[in-house]
């Protein structure tokens, strides 16, 4: 069993949690969630939904949206007034302000389900925090329905539930419990389930903190012809295999997706897990796409000033060798022939390899990083300072790749110099030889195109068993220094897997909105100009909007993701750390 937080387990295992009520079985509270049937295509359970507005990131986004000049037209749009009119009406008649209304309605528990059928139908079950509120809202809905053009609605009582039908909406209320559906029969069955449920057993405990859990029944979804067509293997788009193949494969292999969103501490935690019932045989995942046993994605590169970093494991050699399985025999044959033809053509430039040869040498470790960098040209300062990017690809045989690529780089440099006037120079950084491609900086060249292109001075090297390429020499050097520091660490001293579960991490990412806020300083001119010329803001509004964006990003903390296989399936985790 993998370890999951207590709250996650309580939310997901609806049938497994112990009832924690007091009193006799007949007096036991029946949570509206019991109205949801066991078989659903999708089910979402949320506790303390009202608390979502207190999540710091949500609060920051909401503050930004309400003050933003960009979003102001949305609030002022009369269509938005419709929702506001409804809300004002409710507030006035219920004598509750907005926050209180939201807390009483959404502070309890909500469940939403999509039930199998043709077409699939929805069911919502709500436990309001205030037991009287649903009844009061029902009275107001009756009043509004009487005043509407239709003027009529159906009313009945069924098994102690007060029932209504307003057009296509069917509604049933009892105390704090609200059931809604677009189908009367679904609603009737939901009431029966709720009233007949054994309240002494297996009622999910109400969580006292904000949580959302969802489950998608993939096995049931795969019965649909449309879904089967979408998950056809091999897919029609070959590119999808290399980029998405492993992800598509998850939807084919696993029977369930469980998603949970919670705030266990100072993090906002989103977990997406692909699982199957215990004992079900599942393939280990598309071979070559994910890190195999004993391997992991490399640690993230984190030199100073990183906005974004990612690392992943992808074995293109294995993917190439399994091409017949991946894309079918006929396509595999075409691709093999195309590869051979391309290899023959590349010999003209002195390249003694085919594309598949090169592809097989690349990886399986891939890393990228976006970071602040110093201006790459001494004599041209671009009006906007863009961050630099660096990519690092491990090589199976560095010397072979260097031999292969030398003539290719020579020809490329010649072409770039002849066509674009790009100048190639060499520079050493420790024992690494860097090739630096510089743009021409003569006045005639400057007046064509954007000056922002002088943020780029492409630099690459084959060194330390890797191909490293970046947009500025300084960024590449910073990454090489990090690689050296990494190499100097004792074995096993690199970043460990997520400590909360024994994952074989195959993808990692880290994003720092705070660093992005810093980066906005560098592009303030372009951003301000866009806000004025594209969005139509005034110059003053544009300046304030830029400041607001910086404040927003500065308050958003850090986001990290990890994906990989555990004993029970595949997990994708997003962690949003408060600043």
């Amino acid at each position: 069993m993998w370890q999951a937080s207590r709250r996650v387990a309580a939310g997901i295992a609806l049938a497994a949690c112990l009832w924690s009520g007091t009193g006799s079985a007949d007096d036991a509270p029946r949570t509206a969630a019991l109205a949801i049937p066991a078989e659903t295509l999708l089910r979402i359970d949320a506790s303390r939904l009202a608390d979502i507005v207190r999540v710091p990131a949500v609060e920051a986004l909401s503050d930004f949206a309400s003050a933003s000049a960009l979003f102001a037209p949305l609030y002022e749009n009369p269509e938005a007034f419709t929702a506001r009119e409804a809300l004002l009406f409710l507030e006035r008649r219920l004598e509750l302000d907005r926050d209180e209304l939201w807390e009483r309605l959404a502070g309890g528990r909500w469940s939403f389900a999509v039930l199998p059928g043709a077409p699939p139908l929805g069911l919502i079950a709500i436990d309001a925090l205030d037991p009287d509120l649903p009844g009061r809202i029902l009275q107001l809905m009756d009043e509004l329905a009487s005043r509407s053009a239709a003027g009529t609605f159906e009313t009945s009582v069924y098994r102690d539930f007060d029932c209504r039908r307003y057009g296509k909406l069917a509604l049933a209320i009892q105390g704090p419990r609200i059931l809604l559906s677009g189908d009367r029969q679904i609603l009737k069955e939901a009431v029966d389930r709720l009233q007949d449920a054994d309240a002494t057993a297996n009622a999910p405990a109400a969580a006292d903190e904000f949580e959302v859990h969802a489950r998608v029944d993939l096995a049931r979804l795969r019965l649909s012809p449309e879904v089967q067509a979408g998950l056809k293997w091999p897919p029609d788009d070959l590119g999808a295999i290399a980029i998405l193949g492993g992800w598509l494969d998850l939807f084919r292999q696993y029977d369930r997706i469980d998603v949970s969103l919670s705030q266990p501490d100072s993090r906002l935690l989103l977990d997406v897990r692909f699982t199957s019932p215990a004992g079900t045989k599942v393939q280990p995942g598309l071979e070559g796409f994910w890190a195999p046993e004993g391997s992991e994605a490399p640690p993230l590169l984190m030199p100073t000033g990183v906005l974004y970093a990612s690392s992943w494991h992808r074995d293109y050699q294995a993917l190439w060798e399994a091409r017949e399985t991946l894309i079918g025999a006929e396509r595999a044959e075409r691709v093999t022939k195309a590869d051979a033809d391309a290899g023959a053509q590349m010999q003209v430039v002195g390249a003694e390899f085919t594309p598949s040869d090169l592809l097989s040498q690349l990886g399986p470790e891939f890393r990228t990083v976006i970071l602040h960098s110093t201006p790459p040209y001494a004599d041209v300062v671009p009006p906007n300072r863009l961050p630099a990017g660096v990519a690092v690809v491990s090589l199976r045989d560095e010397s072979r790749v260097r031999t292969w690529m030398s003539p290719v780089f020579r020809i490329l440099n010649l072409i770039l110099n002849g066509d674009q006037g790009i100048i190639s120079t060499a520079e050493r950084h420790g024992d690494a030889e860097l090739t630096i491609l510089s743009l021409p900086t003569k006045p005639e060249a400057l007046r064509r195109g954007s000056l922002d292109r002088f943020n780029f001075r492409t630099t690459y090297t084959i060194s330390r068993g890797r191909f490293v390429i970046g947009t500025t020499p300084a960024a590449v050097k910073a990454v090489l220094d990090v690689l050296d520091a990494e190499a100097a660490l004792p074995a096993g001293g690199l970043a460990a897997s997520d400590s909360e579960s024994p994952l074989r991490v195959t993808d990692r990412q880290s994003f720092s909105p705070a660093e992005l806020a810093r980066a906005l300083n560098g592009v303030a001119e372009a951003l301000g100009r866009s806000l004025v010329l594209v969005a139509g803001l005034t110059v003053d509004e544009a300046e304030r909007e830029t400041e607001r964006l910086q404040t927003l990003f500065g308050s958003l903390g850090r986001i990290e993701t990890s994906a990989g296989f555990g004993p029970d399936g595949f997990q994708y985790r997003v962690q949003w750390f408060e600043p």
Binding site: P78, P443, A526, R529, L533
Partner: protein, 468 residues
Amino acid sequence: MSSAQQRLNAISPRTAWEPFTPTRRSRWDELKAAHLLRRAAFGASGPDVARAVQAGLEETLDQLFAPGSGSAAFDADADRLEEGAVASGDARQLEAAWMHRLLNSPFPLRERLTLFWHDHFATSQAKVDNLALMRDQVATLRRDALGNFPEMLHAMTRDPAMLIWLDSNTNRKGAANENYAREVFELFSLGLGNYSEQDIREAARALTGWSVRDARAHFDPAQHDDSEKTVFEQRGRFTSGDIVRLCLGRPACAMFLVRKLFQELVSDAGQPSEELLAPLAEGFRQRDFDIAWLVRRMLGSWLFYSDAAIQQRVKSPVELIVGTVKALEGRVGPVQAAASSAELGQRLYFPPSVKGWDGGRLWLNSSTLMRRQNLAFEVTRGIGESARCDPARLVREQGLRTADDMAGFFLRLFHQTADHPQRARIVEQLEVEAAAGPQHPFAQPARTARLARAAAHLALTLPEYQLG
């Protein structure tokens, strides 16, 4: 003879240019105030028109001819936007930066005239291929837009963008290129028939020696033909400055310029006689070609407020777009506005030829007319790029509820009359619109908004809205 020509012919040259003074029969009212603001400032909102009526003609003219409050700060910001646009290397950014001025400048008359001079000294980025030079040329035109024409003409003979555009760059001693000389005479100062081919040949020699180096005009004496030339029967070792002086000394020059400004500001529906324009031309010449004097004389005259001038011009794409946005008291993204203007045939910085835009009725063809109608729909949708230009906001501010009220409001706003012959038909269509859609109590604001947008749209699609 067209009715427009008949009206023009009926105007007495003795009184045409006398200052308009309101009488009981011819009041200073919304119709005239809106007409002035359309011609001088591309258009105006309802409150702007009301203020102009309240202030009277003279005070309104004073305000139009003076930089508005915040002009210096606005110009500084606009200059920075243009600088960034030039650095981006993207012509559309520069077009948008100018559109930003056209939409928002506190000195709209100056922008109006800048656009006119850009058409007059038509120079296209398509050939110049240098955003900085194009920006600088328009900046020069803006500086002199309401100033002194001789200074402007001198500046244009040495403007780097103009030198490239009219091949002055290759106008050398012993190999004169007549392009620029011809256009100076024909299009910039005298008009057809007021010079000879010999004058052109001789003037071309006088204009030799100029080229563009490092984005600056450069005079190379070695490339200049400094021998004697005969232009307009006058002999001398003329240079470019002399050619300008000689042009300005021709009686045809003042008349040519007055006629062009007449078509731009007064009417392009008929041909004014020389007799009609003579008083203006004489005054213009006597005042050393003072543009502000000429423009003010035109905009303050009896003729300007007669039926020979009101609604006697087809709105250019820029006038149509900017005027509509101003009337709706809205804001749109200048990038989109500039793109729309280009689609309608007026792409800023890209006049189609050295003659500029043909203008007048030629703004309208089956394609552009349809596009103008579509634009009316797009700008009144109230969502997306038109979200800040929503007619529903005006209706809400006015507290209007019924279809009839809304129809009357927008007819008055766009046509200065609520008693338009099409009002009943518009109301009928709006009532059909009102009956459709959700009818629940909370839908009222959305319903009202839909009606407001439909009312504005219908008012904008009336044919006379294409006339300014």
